[in-house]
Structure formats: structure tokens, C-alpha cells
């Protein structure tokens, strides 16, 4: 199915584009621990790319490399055909890369609305004087961005908790708000670190639907880490498999499922 550069068509008929993000020979060490060992893979425009692997395989570390939180000792990150220089995370965010976290990282003291509004930080332009006087761009922006945020709130079906401080929300809803905050940035690439962890079946179904809808409606490219193999097989176009910091498989869900190395290292063994 894979081609040289122009993309491919998924079994369900979606056109996947060229390479958006390419990781080339990434090695990341923490002192003596090698979290990522010489890994290369790419993420294509419009695709849902899964990263799977047992606990401690280095999946979250890989997302942290992508959004500039960790700086690999070796290797290169290419984004949209250009080699990316070492960047601070907020600069990466400005490129249009947003994410959610494995352990929810919401702003606990703020309401759902404010959390999601904060997600639009990179799109705000009013200067401090305009903001202090609530004048010109400041007022206009606040209203415009609020409209966009309300759309996200409707999309995620969280209207009823708009003004609730997020610290008071149950876990499943917090995960949803965090997705909203990432979506608010209108990202080109959305990184999701175990968006369905700890959810019941119904909540997982909702979350799957949101992920697919985001990809479908906004054309957002998605890279997600997920432990639930059923979910991965269902929604991912291509899967990278990691184990002990190494890449042991890369391909469509079917290819990965039938890869003996993957079966040995991951699917065959229970990791819970």
C-alpha cells in the first residue's frame, strides 16, 4: 500500500497526503537510560498515526521530542520539508502542533471555558495596552475567539460544564476538556497521549468518535498513543510499534498485527 511520497488512499477511501513530519534516527538518552534508540518514522498529512508499545517503551518521550520538550542527542526532526532547529515548546506550538497529556495537565484553577480559550493563545494578537483598556483588538478578539471556542464546546458536548472549574470535573470530562484545549489551537498536527486511558467503554466510544470527526471535519493530522489494541486497529491508518526504545514494527494495523516480532514483544505478552 505504501508509496514513495505522494500519499495513499486508505481502505475507507480517505486520501492521505505527503510527509508532514519526519523523525530521522532519533536517539534520546536520560543519563544512562536510553529512552529512544535510533528511531525513524514519518507522519503524513491527514493521517491517523498510532504509536504503540509496552509501558516504558518510550512513546511519551517521542511525543515530547516532537513538541520540543525533550531535545534528542542524535537525529533530526523534519516538519513540512524543512529541518526543524532546536525549538522551545511554545515555538513548536506556534507551528501548529498541539497535544494532550497522559496525566491530565489542565489548568485546575480555571473554568472549562478559560482552559479552552487558553488553547488559542498562539492565535491572539492584542497587545498589553489594548488588553488593559479592553479596547480595539482586545475586545474584538475576545468575542471572536469565544465564538470559535463555543463551537468546540458544542462539538465535544460539554456545554453544561462551560463555567465549572475543571478541578471539580470527573476524569472522563477532564480528558475531553483537554482535547478541547488542544483543538482550540486549530492545530495541523494533534498529538494525543493515551486519550482513552482509564475510560469505560462508552467514554472510549465517544472519544474515538471525536478523534475520527476531528480528522474528518478539520483534516487534522493525528498522532496518538494508545494501549487499547481494539481502538488502534479500528481508527489508525498506520502504526509504529516501539519496545525498549526501539522501533520493532511500522505499517498498517494488519501488517503490524501479523508481524512476528511485534507479536512476541507486545501482543503476545500481557502488560497490565
Amino acid at each position: 500500500m505504501l508509496d514513495s511520497g505522494e500519499g495513499y488512499i486508505t481502505p475507507d477511501g480517505r486520501q492521505i497526503g505527503g510527509v508532514m513530519m519526519e523523525m530521522k534516527n532519533i536517539t534520546l538518552r536520560f543519563g544512562g537510560v536510553v529512552a529512544i534508540k535510533d528511531i525513524s518514522f514519518d507522519i503524513r498529512e491527514g493521517e491517523i498515526r498510532a504509536i504503540i508499545g509496552p509501558n516504558g517503551a518510550g512513546k511519551s518521550s517521542m511525543l515530547n521530542v516532537i513538541n520540543g520538550f525533550y531535545h534528542p542527542q542524535e537525529g533530526e526532526v523534519w516538519f513540512r520539508g524543512e529541518k526543524r532547529p532546536a525549538m522551545r515548546p511554545y515555538e513548536v506550538a506556534e507551528l501548529g502542533i498541539a497535544r494532550t497529556f497522559q496525566n491530565i495537565a489542565l489548568f485546575k484553577g480555571m473554568s472549562t471555558l478559560d482552559n479552552i480559550m487558553t488553547g488559542r493563545m498562539t492565535l491572539m494578537r492584542a497587545n498589553i495596552l489594548e488588553q488593559a483598556l479592553w479596547w480595539g483588538r482586545a475586545q474584538r478578539e475576545e468575542t471572536e475567539h469565544r465564538e470559535k471556542v463555543e463551537k468546540i464546546i458544542d462539538f465535544l458536548e460539554i456545554q453544561h460544564i462551560r463555567k465549572t472549574p475543571v478541578g471539580r470535573l470527573p476524569y472522563g470530562l477532564q480528558k475531553r476538556v483537554e482535547l478541547g484545549r488542544a483543538l482550540a489551537a486549530e492545530p495541523k498536527l494533534l498529538l494525543l497521549d493515551e486519550p482513552m486511558a482509564g475510560m469505560n467503554v462508552e467514554e472510549k466510544e465517544d472519544m474515538c468518535r471525536f478523534v475520527l470527526d476531528v480528522n474528518d471535519e478539520f483534516g487534522t493530522t493525528i498522532a496518538l498513543i494508545e494501549h487499547d489494541m481494539g481502538v488502534v486497529m479500528d481508527i489508525a491508518d498506520r502504526v509504529v510499534v516501539m519496545d525498549y526504545g526501539k522501533k520493532i514494527g511500522d505499517g498498517t494495523p494488519d501488517e503490524v498485527r501479523n508481524n512476528p516480532e511485534v507479536i512476541d514483544a507486545y501482543l503476545g505478552v500481557s502488560h497490565d
Binding site: N67, F69, R88, P89, Y90, V92, A93, E94, A98, R99, F101, A105, L106, F107, K108, G109, M110, D114, M117, T118, G119, M121, T122, M124, A126, I128, Q131, A132, L133, W134, A138, Q139, E141, E142, T143, R146, E147, E150, R181, A182, A185
Partner: protein, 358 residues
């Protein structure tokens, strides 16, 4: 008339983002401003101005400033007294260097000077947090007081080492110097309070305020979703110091008239401001007012009741004050980190449901 939102529907997001979404609150707020502007200036006397109103207004500005830094942005500061001193000395130097310049501009400029100094002392916050940052700001406090004591240029080489404010007028009415009347002192401070509180409210409900709170609540996630931590922290230091500097300038020029730096702006003042925002409520403009009012009124009240009314010795009353403040700080830190403002909010929640609580 009941206290609630019912029947008071918001038809635009702009309305929904208002400071006082409930009509009743809005009217009460206008009423407070009207009384402050139209009634008190005519009723005020020297005692009320000196003991209560003017210090309350000035401390409200300082508390808002500290609350922006500590309550909203999560950067603890023990340097409030030192930054007030910067505002005071900047004001003094500008007043004496440019006697023609209107005092209102001088005070605002003093705020800008303090903002600059605040940014400078805020630089360590890019590297250190919490306790270590508190110690760094404490160092700033002692350094600044030492500086204003030791470098005679700051006090224009006066023999006493003090600075004293010459007379300046606004629309022909003296607002600094010995001729100033109580109502003029009060009015100039009130005008600064109203404008600054409004600006603080605007900043904290908008983009920059959200960037401060994001840094406070989870700095790593904030940076990853696009908050520039350098800009967020330094802007918090700048805005906070601007407010604190203006408070210092007014404290010196309008309230005290003459100042010896260690006495007027020592470490106790840093703690006083911190107590105000802890008791009033971290991360709340209203809380800054409540805390300032409480800390200014408490000693006055205790003195009147215990010393004046019951004939206690003054030092006993002072000790009781320390006990009460200490107890309250512990209480609020443990039980209600959002201070009086949160208690007030709870009362309002109850009121909104009254008389049918279910």
C-alpha cells in the same frame, strides 16, 4: 427583588464576559463608586482620611499588584516593600527634577520605572520557583532599601536622609505637601484605584491573564500549548510592579509626605501586602480590596474598641492584633486559600438559591 440571573439572559458573548454578570451586582458596584465619588469627599475628615480611607485605597492598589504576580501568576514575592520604595523614590526624583510636570504623570511614570525594576528582579523567575524565588525577592527587598539608604543621590543629599514631597496641585488643588486637605488626598487616591482596578480586571479576564493563570496552574503544559513563559512571567512582574510602584508613590507623596525608607518600606510592608492577599483571596481583584480593608481596619477597630472602649493597654491590643492576623492566615491557608473573596462567593451562591435551597 431576588438576587439571581433568571430573566437576565445574555444574548452575546460580550455580555457574558462582563465583570458583573448579575444586574444586582452591577448596580451595587455603581452605587459603591457613586458613594465613593459623590458622598465621601464631602463627609470626610482628617481622622477618617488618615486612619482608614487613604491607606485603604493605597494598599488596595499594592494588593492588586501583588495579587497579579502571586495570586494570578503564581510567583511568590516578598519584595513588595522594596518595590513600593522604588515607586516612592522615582516619584521624589521626578517631582524634584521636573517641578512643572503634573503630579498625576509623575506618579504614572514612577509606576513605569518600578515596572522596569520589577522586570529586572523578575529575571530569576525564569530559572527558579517557589521558595527559592521567594528568597530572591527577599534579597531584592533588602537590596533596594539598602540602596535608597546608602546612595545620597536618591534623597538629593538631604541631611536627614529622608525624602519629603513638595507641594503639587491638580486643577489648582494641592494634593501633596502640608497644605493638602483630606478630601483631596482621598480623591486622588480614589481616582487611581478606580482606573487601576478596572485595568487589572481587564488584564486578568483576557489573554494575558489566562497566560498568567496557565503558568500558575501548570507551567510545563502552559508552555507546550503555546504560552511563552518568559513573556508571561516578565509581564506579570512588570504589571505587578507598575501597580506596586504607583502605590509606593502615593504612599510617599500623598499619604506620608515625608519618608525614611527603612521605616516606611521595610520588610514588614512586604508581609503586610502578602497577608492582605492571603486573607482577601489569591487570584481575586475583589479579594485584594477585602484584604486591604481588613488589614487596615483591624488595628483601627481593635484600638478603638479595646484601648478606647475597654481601657486595655495599647501593647496588649497590638499583641492581640498579631494573634488574630496570625490565626486568620493559618485558617485561610488551610481552609480557604481563596480567602474572604471565596467566603463572599459562597454567600452569594446561597443567596442565588434563596429562599428555595433545592
Amino acid at each position: 427583588m431576588f438576587y439571581r440571573e433568571a430573566g437576565d439572559f445574555k444574548t452575546s458573548y460580550q455580555d457574558d464576559a462582563q465583570t458583573f454578570p448579575i444586574k444586582f451586582d452591577r448596580y451595587r458596584y455603581y452605587a459603591v463608586i457613586a458613594v465613593g465619588l459623590l458622598v465621601i469627599p464631602f463627609a470626610i475628615n482628617d481622622y477618617w482620611a488618615n486612619a482608614v480611607l487613604v491607606p485603604f485605597l493605597i494598599w488596595a492598589i499594592a494588593a492588586i499588584g501583588l495579587n497579579i504576580l502571586t495570586g494570578y501568576c503564581g510567583q511568590v514575592s516578598l519584595g513588595t516593600g522594596g518595590f513600593m520604595a522604588v515607586g516612592a523614590y522615582a516619584c521624589y526624583k521626578l517631582m524634584t527634577a521636573f517641578p512643572e510636570l503634573n503630579i498625576v504623570f509623575v506618579v504614572i511614570l514612577a509606576g513605569f520605572v518600578t515596572a522596569g525594576v520589577g522586570v529586572l528582579f523578575g529575571l530569576p523567575s525564569l530559572r527558579i520557583k517557589g521558595f527559592y524565588l521567594a528568597v530572591a525577592t527577599l534579597a531584592a527587598q533588602f537590596f533596594l532599601v539598602w540602596l535608597f539608604n546608602r546612595v545620597p543621590w536618591f534623597y538629593n543629599y538631604s541631611a536627614s536622609g529622608q525624602i519629603s514631597a513638595p507641594e503639587r496641585t491638580v486643577f489648582g488643588v494641592p494634593v501633596t505637601g502640608p497644605e493638602t486637605s483630606a478630601w483631596a488626598q482621598y480623591m486622588i487616591c480614589l481616582l487611581f484605584v478606580v482606573v487601576l482596578a478596572w485595568a487589572a480586571r481587564n488584564l486578568t479576564r483576557g489573554t494575558i491573564g489566562r497566560s498568567w493563570m496557565a503558568i500558575r496552574d501548570m507551567d510545563i503544559a502552559a508552555e507546550i500549548i503555546g504560552v511563552n513563559p518568559l513573556r508571561a512571567k516578565l509581564s506579570a512582574f512588570a504589571v505587578s510592579s507598575f501597580f506596586v510602584g504607583i502605590a509606593g508613590a502615593l504612599f510617599f507623596a500623598v499619604y506620608l509626605g515625608a519618608v525614611e525608607v527603612g521605616e516606611a518600606f521595610g520588610i514588614q510592608k512586604s508581609f503586610l501586602a502578602l497577608f492582605m492577599i492571603i486573607i482577601g483571596g489569591l487570584g481575586s481583584i475583589f479579594g485584594s480590596f477585602a484584604g486591604a480593608a481588613f488589614m487596615v481596619l483591624l488595628p483601627v477597630l481593635l484600638k478603638n474598641v479595646l484601648v478606647g472602649g475597654l481601657g486595655w493597654p495599647t501593647d496588649l491590643a497590638a499583641h492581640l492584633e498579631l494573634l488574630i492576623v496570625g490565626g486568620l492566615i493559618v485558617f485561610f491557608l488551610i481552609a480557604e486559600p481563596h480567602g474572604l473573596a471565596a467566603l463572599w462567593r459562597t454567600v452569594k451562591e446561597k443567596l442565588r438559591l434563596w429562599p428555595f435551597p433545592h
